[in-house]
Symmetry: C2
Subunit: 192 residues, 2 copies
Amino acid sequence: MMHSTKQRLIDMGLSMLLKQGYNNLGIQALLTATGTPKGSFYHHFADKEDFALEVIDAYIAQVHAGLDACLRDKELPPLARVRLFFEQTQQSYQKDGYMGCLLGGLGQELSGVSEVFRHKIEWCFSAIANALATCLEEARKRGEISTACDVRQMANILVDCWEGAALRSRLRQNPESLNAMLDFYIRSVATG
Amino acid sequence: MMHSTKQRLIDMGLSMLLKQGYNNLGIQALLTATGTPKGSFYHHFADKEDFALEVIDAYIAQVHAGLDACLRDKELPPLARVRLFFEQTQQSYQKDGYMGCLLGGLGQELSGVSEVFRHKIEWCFSAIANALATCLEEARKRGEISTACDVRQMANILVDCWEGAALRSRLRQNPESLNAMLDFYIRSVATG
């Protein structure tokens, strides 16, 4: 089990990075918000970059827990599982006050100046797309989507379009763009 | 005509903001890169925020010049004009070294902490979607897309999905996600 101080820093860091991004986040503000002494932060993390990378790990672990719970639910047809995952993601965005996706936020802010973050975030998106592709392949075999469908490409398109809709939901502070994009995608890939 | 010092600051600012974002940009670095004295910067701009908002204005003016040139080209059918605009945008991303879209970058970095940038960038996306909707309406009337199509919604979906693909092209440093998304969208909306 993770040390409770470390867990508290990561939880608060996730919320602060989601709202204000990386460069705007001060370590002192994080320490104040969590009531943590400075030495304790540097006991758990080498520096701010190391901290943010651990926050991304915690975030992506949550995403994969959601993917596992939704995509392995054999009670539902495969395409309905994909939809369920994104509907739950949308509900989690709503709970956070429509701050969008941490990967999209940090990916935009940092990928032009940091190869570490660029590779890390691309790796996260690829992993999400891989999980979705496995479920789309099941949908393809069951005839829910066209047999000609390139499931890996369609999974990547889904991740990308979702990220754009997540940015728009952040700008508009509502879920309209997420729902519209998801409906469009499912309608477009579903056979008949 | 714009004062040449101001124009130089805006051009360099666009390139720097695209690459490194807002909070990571130092005014001193901008002054050094352009050989501009500090007083001259504050003669033209009230502060960093004012400067970034003017850079966004310059960026969106370029986008609308591209939209006008492509979408009013009556030699092409409407849907081909829409495709042309995004193909040209992709070429401009390539020229910039796949830094993606300034609106997406600043929208992600700043909309959680600044209502000024959140509203400004949402306004920019809405204006782009409006221009695209007009062309999609022409496509609808000509039977290129379904008569049941809600062109305003489909224009917003296009803008959103493009922004997500632009982020991915930034992470991957290649145009694959942009081409895949555009092909998928056009294939999905086109009738037969």
